[in-house]
């Protein structure tokens, strides 16, 4: 009896995922079609990739909310450079460079000045949103034919290229975080910095690495987001904040691990993508989606009792 209860608690969200999948397949005949599933995957990709970036930082024991400001800004830079005739690689590298710079600054604030990552990255987010707004005037920047969307969203066989990219990134990060010494040490630094120090690990080095890797992944996310919409949209950042955080937090618990992890985020992103997908297919009321997402978040965290581990410290 005890075993079952614990098992259920640990895997609740996973069970919900399966159950919903079954329900949706039954409720809508179009759900299971290859086209739709591919579409679902594509929708989840950007969310998932940005989620990977956030989770890398969470594994290191910090949090980064600035991505909601960095990503639209990077998208704007990327789109502007392209529409001004710069070659693709210049635009791509510049985007990456900006992302890394912002991440590096944040890591300095957190590791050297010992600022709390929660508040500093919120401030950074607002600041970057402001800079973006000033730069673009709040308008969208369209790519039109400066960029061939097919490079990213074209098909290889039946699979869109971006899904392959998603899979590749997932595999790389999975091995990095779960199977390498670096990943193990990053985790230790995040969970127990004191013991880490006693064991000879330098938290500053690892946290900085976490932020930089996260920043690089955010840049990829910005690129994909711009590519998908064929332009840097005004809503790119704000729309991303809540879903990505939800994916990261729910991802902690999906596979019963009670800690930030990459495979969990993958599943959580798919779960959220699936809900959005089904909403369209089943013509569910508009308001049910955010409510469902909120409920899942709260259930996931509460039932798996990871509330004790507070990733985010509020103290100023």
């Amino acid at each position: 009896m005890n075993f079952t209860k614990e098992f259920v608690q640990k895997y609740t969200v996973f069970i919900i995922l399966i159950v919903l999948f079954v329900i949706f397949s039954i409720a809508s005949p179009t759900f299971m079609q290859v086209d739709n599933l591919m579409n679902l995957l594509v929708q989840s990709t950007i969310l998932g990739i940005v989620g990977f970036g956030l989770v890398m930082i969470m594994i290191a024991g910090e949090i980064d909310l600035a991505f909601a400001g960095v990503i639209p800004f990077e998208g704007a830079i990327f789109a502007t450079l392209l529409t001004n005739g710069r070659p693709f690689w210049v635009a791509a590298l510049s985007t990456l460079a900006i992302g890394l710079l912002v991440s590096y600054v944040i890591s300095l604030l957190v590791t050297r000045l010992k600022l709390v990552s929660f508040v500093s990255t919120i401030a950074m987010m607002f600041l970057l949103q402001g800079i973006w707004y000033a730069y673009t005037g709040g308008k969208n920047i369209y790519l039109e034919d400066y960029f061939n969307r097919d490079i990213v969203f074209g098909l290889v066989g039946a699979v869109p290229r971006v899904v392959i990219l998603f899979a590749v990134i997932f595999i790389i990060l999975y091995f990095l975080t779960e199977q390498t010494p670096f990943g193990l040490r990053l985790r230790i630094v995040g969970e127990d910095p004191e013991s880490a120090r006693t064991m000879g690990l330098n938290p500053i080095v690892y946290k900085t690495a976490g932020f930089l890797i996260g920043g690089a992944i955010f840049a990829i996310g910005a690129f994909l987001s711009t590519a998908r919409m064929s332009g840097a949209l005004a809503t790119a950042g704000a729309n991303m904040l809540m879903p990505v955080m939800t994916a990261a937090f729910v991802g902690q618990t999906v596979l019963g691990m009670s800690r930030p992890n990459i495979p969990g985020v993958l599943l959580a992103a798919l779960l959220l993508g699936m809900i959005n997908n089904a909403f369209v297919l089943l013509r569910l009321p508009f308001w049910s989606v955010p409510i469902a997402e909120g409920l899942i978040l709260i259930i996931a965290i509460y039932l798996t009792n990871i509330n004790k581990r507070d990733v985010v410290q509020i103290s100023m």
Binding site: T180, P181, L184, R185, I188, E191, A196, M199, L201, R259
Partner: protein, 502 residues
């Protein structure tokens, strides 16, 4: 001695206002177990911190394997083969046994990924080497008992083949069987040539394990001797010194009405505690670190949950109570960690003093009457002689002794009858200590019952009317300070018995 692994000669270390170590010699031979013994504040931890590299010595010479060392970092000392296992163990709780043993030295396969199979196999070997075979290396450390966790910590350290191992009070949280097992492991390692420095307060540990004993007192080396040449009675005498205890504070009392009655208290770290505390008396709870004193106090105040036991204060029986209940029943606690548990450091003295009894100053129990507050606080500050220019100063800026007085003042604003003081004079200067003792006795004279917890035997005998000595979570002696002495009390605190004194 050519088989000296480590030699520390004439080590001195001074901190502002206190000479922590003066000309201390300490050495350890190959394959010996050497007990380092002394009361709190004797200098043991300072000596070890200098050895580990956390502190720098002021003067003296340190030689390791024949080479003199000038300056080193903690990591270097570990690399040179000198390893420490502290009471906190420093394991990563959410990781498995195998992972903990190999953090920083993870076995890799050609692609750079962790080779989990090798890690597991080697971890099993590491455990087998210390005679532990029943542990599944995949278990997460947080699912293990403290005893097993300690074994994991030891396996990790020993797997790195140190030449010297330092253990700080390793059996304080172990039961008999686990302690036995630890001893076996240590003796095995000793045979293989490992030298061990063992810090402890327990006579049984000293006499069963060690080859030599070094006693420190007040920062000085008192004696280094072969264990079999130093009987327990003499050992204790060296530890406590010859000075007579000044018994000016406590006195033999006629027992008045009973304020606090505790029967059969069991809980984490407490294995059967009884107490009858009467009005107007100061009862001391003595014992070494890890004896269970603070754990008892926490159970009494309701911070931790007890597994068994009856606590009655006055006419009220406290059932599974919280601190709020305990306080309203008339209990007060000056906690061990006065800065972070007793005070709001960034608040003014005034705010701290009125915190627990605020409703008494308030109109309709809602609006504090600031004038009344201020005058009461001023009166208390004067009465307790808290040295501060203003009552609006943040309590952070006060000295240890004055901070303690603020905590006491807080309880004087409530209707407390039973006062629990946990190590109130730690970090307080001589003058402050005297003032605190005086205040305690004033409280008693006014009818309160005081439980005074301390690991300083001399202080306990000096201040209290009667004294209970704790060891391993139980009371092992009830003494009258006027008829007992430091040696007897220390002996009990270390787990010894009276016949060992002679």
């Amino acid at each position: 001695m050519t088989d000296l692994i480590l030699e520390m000669k004439s080590i001195s270390k001074q901190f502002p206002g206190v000479q922590a170590l003066q000309d201390v010699d300490f050495s350890i031979r190959k394959g010996e177990i050497h007990a380092l013994v002394g009361q709190n504040g004797a200098g043991k931890s300072t000596l070890l911190k200098i050895l580990s590299g956390v502190y720098h010595k002021d003067s003296g010479k340190v030689t390791l394997n024949g080479k003199e060392l000038r300056r080193w970092t903690p990591q270097q000392m570990i690399d040179w083969g000198v390893s420490f296992i502290y009471q906190e163990l420093n394991l990563v709780q959410s990781l498995s046994v195998a992972q903990n043993i190999y953090i920083g030295r993870e076995p890799k396969n050609p692609m750079g990924l962790i080779d989990w199979n090798t890690m597991r196999a080697r971890a099993e070997e590491a455990l087998a080497r210390i005679g532990v075979s029943e542990l599944d290396v995949n278990t997460h450390v947080n699912q293990l008992t403290v005893a097993k966790q300690q074994l994991v910590a030891i396996a990790r350290v020993l797997d790195m083949n140190p030449t010297v191992l330092i253990l700080d009070e390793p059996t304080s949280r172990l039961g008999l069987e686990d302690a036995e097992r630890l001893f076996t492991i240590l003796r095995n390692m000793q045979e293989k040539g490992l030298s061990i420095i063992y810090v402890t307060h327990r006579l049984s540990n000293i006499y069963r394990l060690s080859d030599r004993i070094t006693v420190l007192r007040d920062g000085k080396l008192i004696i280094t001797s072969d264990t079999d040449k130093l009987p327990a009675g003499e050992l204790v005498k060296h530890m406590v010194g010859q000075e007579v205890v000044d018994l000016s504070y406590g006195s033999k009392k006629e027992l008045d009405q009973m304020l606090l009655q505790v029967n059969g208290l069991f809980g984490s770290g407490v294995n059967g505690f009884d107490l009858k505390l009467h009005a107007s008396e100061v009862v001391g709870l003595l014992g070494a670190v890890g004896a269970g004193k603070t754990e008892t106090v926490r159970l009494l105040f309701g911070i931790d949950e007890r597994s068994e036991g009856v606590i009655q204060i006055g006419d009220t029986v406290l059932e599974n109570h919280t601190p709020t209940r305990a306080i309203s029943a008339g209990m007060a606690l000056c906690p061990e960690d006065r800065k972070y548990q007793g005070l709001l450091l960034d608040n003014s003295i005034s705010e701290n003093v009125t915190l627990a009894g605020l409703e008494k100053f308030a109109l309709w129990a809602l609006f504090p009457n600031r004038k009344k507050e201020k005058s009461t606080v001023l009166e208390l500050v004067n009465r307790l002689r808290i040295a501060t220019p203003e009552i609006t100063t943040h309590s952070r800026s006060l000295s240890g002794g004055n901070q303690q007085k603020v905590v006491l003042a807080k309880w004087l604003c409530t209707d407390s009858k039973v006062f629990l003081f946990d190590e109130p004079t730690i970090g307080v200067d001589v003058q402050g200590k005297a003032e605190i003792y005086q205040l305690l006795h004033e409280l008693a004279d006014q009818g309160a019952g005081v439980l005074f917890v301390t690991s300083d035997i001399e202080e306990g005998l000096q201040v209290c009317d009667r004294v209970l000595v704790m060891y391993k979570g139980q009371i092992v002696a009830k003494l009258d300070p006027r008829e007992s002495n430091k040696e007897e009390a220390s002996l009990y605190a270390m787990g010894g018995s009276p016949d060992e004194l002679h």
